[in-house]
Symmetry: C2
Subunit: 500 residues, 2 copies
Amino acid sequence: MAFPKLDPGQTDKKLPKDEYASAVPRMRVDLINAQYDLQSADFSVLVNLVGDDRQGCEDVVDLLHEWMDGRYIGTHYFGDPSEEVQERPYFWRYWRALPPRGRVGLFFGDFAWSLIESRFKDEFDEKSYELRLDHVRKLYAELAADGMVILNLWLHLPKAELKKRLKKAKKKPADEWRVHDVDRDMLSDYDRILPICEEMVRRTTSDSSPWHIVESTDERYRNLTVAKLILDAIENGLNRKPPPRKTAGKSASAPVADTDFRRDVLGSVDLSRSLEKDDYKKKLERYQRKIHKLSLQAAKKGVSSVLVFEGWDAAGKGGIIRRITAAISARDVRVVPIASPTEEELAHHYLWRFWRQLPPAGRMLIFDRSWYGRVLVERVEGFASDDEWSRAYDEIVDFESQLVEHGMLVRKFWLHIDADEQLARFKSREQTPYKKYKITDDDYRNRDRWDDYVVAVGEMVARTSTEQAPWILVPANNKPWARVAVLKEVCKGLESLLER
Amino acid sequence: MAFPKLDPGQTDKKLPKDEYASAVPRMRVDLINAQYDLQSADFSVLVNLVGDDRQGCEDVVDLLHEWMDGRYIGTHYFGDPSEEVQERPYFWRYWRALPPRGRVGLFFGDFAWSLIESRFKDEFDEKSYELRLDHVRKLYAELAADGMVILNLWLHLPKAELKKRLKKAKKKPADEWRVHDVDRDMLSDYDRILPICEEMVRRTTSDSSPWHIVESTDERYRNLTVAKLILDAIENGLNRKPPPRKTAGKSASAPVADTDFRRDVLGSVDLSRSLEKDDYKKKLERYQRKIHKLSLQAAKKGVSSVLVFEGWDAAGKGGIIRRITAAISARDVRVVPIASPTEEELAHHYLWRFWRQLPPAGRMLIFDRSWYGRVLVERVEGFASDDEWSRAYDEIVDFESQLVEHGMLVRKFWLHIDADEQLARFKSREQTPYKKYKITDDDYRNRDRWDDYVVAVGEMVARTSTEQAPWILVPANNKPWARVAVLKEVCKGLESLLER
């Protein structure tokens, strides 16, 4: 994609006063109307406002709050990260701030600027910088695929203009307070920082998340141009048909042909493994002690972990999870059971509700079911369109790799039982009054879909098991064996990370 | 209220194995059923699990997750407060964690324990301790009035038993890892800490938030007793009629008779105040500079502020707020416009959504409308019952006093215009295309309620204006005058706080 230079060396973008005065009222009406139409739409609009003109960015935020309906704009300023933020992967705070469908989000000083700053101060090695750029591109791509309209605005002030502005402020003390040290720094570093800005802009622009350079010399030109770009973005979003999310529905054809290979994934699990009672008690005890010790070390070193539990109904997830939590101080572990998404969660990208849960430094977070619902139940039941669940594999891999890069332990367990064992457990639960509630008609219906799930699990494991965030297939026909196997794996994972 | 001693010196509460074995299945069924019935109910259940038996508390949490449906229990462990938590008033993290209606919340190591610890370590002077106890009582009272069922459980282990347990752990290394330093500390401080526990329990118990002491010596007795208490709490809640929240509806009689006095509150505002254009420009400039400087100092010193803007429709809130934000770096100020509550917000106490917004150290937070909606629109329109809005005054005073005690600046502005000025502004907005959207039929309907609002505003100011969190009535018929008046008050407030 060809991209204009940030600073083409002209400063001729001006708008006469009368033209501005006659255009503004119309623009304000259009913006408000577009904003109201957006409210019932199935997507959100994200405006990233960045630029070498810091003061211009602040002014534009105030302007948009005046011209639009401030109640429906989610404005977020991203400054120096707090401790809470630093303890999570880099994009955590951006995910948390994303606008729900129907709203406009205004991000101000987002990762674009912090990337540039870090690059300028040489805080990155080449590899980390490339990794992060890659995550930015993937983030934009997934949000856009989910329907979000993304608009990146760069407010550019030519060097000569910046110089003029600082000079003027000095002479006219009334304006002086509006000038920050950052502006003075900007001027002195201008020639070194601009190429970094240009590179970042060039390398993160795409059709679905374009950058627009807006020259900021003339306020009137800047205001109206920004407003026009936002208006166009909302209107283009509204005029798309059909909205990309609305295409859910079950397709008959499996989009991946090689299902046999995948069936083998589960076929290779040796379901005959089992443990005697005495042996179990001894080993359970040993690994619980170990996990306890390791959890204390992890808390001390600030190493956090994310464990994911998936598996067939009645495979014994709950029992295993309790064996882990019982060994760890309540302070250091949290279980997040994943049920159907709430209304608020549905108004966001499906990964949003998982991002916001991520643990602070030193803690263990256990997901009882997880984001893999996208490629399991949502795929099999047709709650997600083929497009949606097909692209989820890469989205998930990118998500988990960000956790790993942040230093977290990521382990994913599939608890495997066979259909006979499952039926036996259902029957036994039905005999046990306090376990009856765990068996519903849905559970029996899901059994009819066993083969579909086998394919889905196979493809999931094949496409999302990575060296750093591996799937561990646990034979679970024998509960003692499964429990000890999981505890052992968690210990192994923690040890390997703590040894570093 | 008479209250039993924490440690009556007996340890005879035991349950034989067979009795336990036969009772447990029934209890699990009942708990699960109660939990499911609760889901469609209009209240939540909060279980505070505290005690001198730390290990017992951890075990009970695991047990409840096994016996109940973990997906619908919100378990929160409150350990050492993070930086994020320390920057907010004491009860901030508890408010954030409160269960929504229909759910059970399980708080583990809540403020009861942290109060005891602080008292034990002498971190409080007498006055701060009393203040905090008072806030606890008020918190329980408001949540209970809102329908929440509150159950405080104290797990008590007699000293002799604790000694036995620690001894046993030493001999049998298999159990040793379950013993923490805190348990050893507990033993050595036992005689000094128990009276503090007793005092806290005695002084925070009430009919709507009772404490129950559960002896923890015998696990079977403890488990079944805790389960029974929780079951009873849920069932009693379900059997109440009618649920307290369901009583909303407009009553004809004003519950406070002295309306004339209150009418005078607004009657005393001198609406003739105005500023000439030149004078306005000069003063606006002066106070914006000042506010800018003060905001930098506040950021540096970690002093945060909460500004509340209420007023008649078209009184000019937006314009004033923008004059403030324009003077402060976007990093240091945030505006929260308050619209109708979302589904999630409605599932909580009405103050919940305001608590969660509170700013970190050094920031300014501006509420464009606020919790005062409870005693304004909700009162006048009958969205809140007489009971609900009548008790809101005290709830609000307690809320704001916690902000002030935490060191925040709290200022509340009522922008006052008269009915003629309002009508003129409505008409003028209707003539301005981009302001038309700000005028709806509702606005005209509200005008019919003018006199009701005058009474409501009067009572609000009379009952919630305090020395530390005062209402400032701003004559706003003349916008320049109002803007400068507000800026001046904000400066004054910041200065007084920064001088300390």
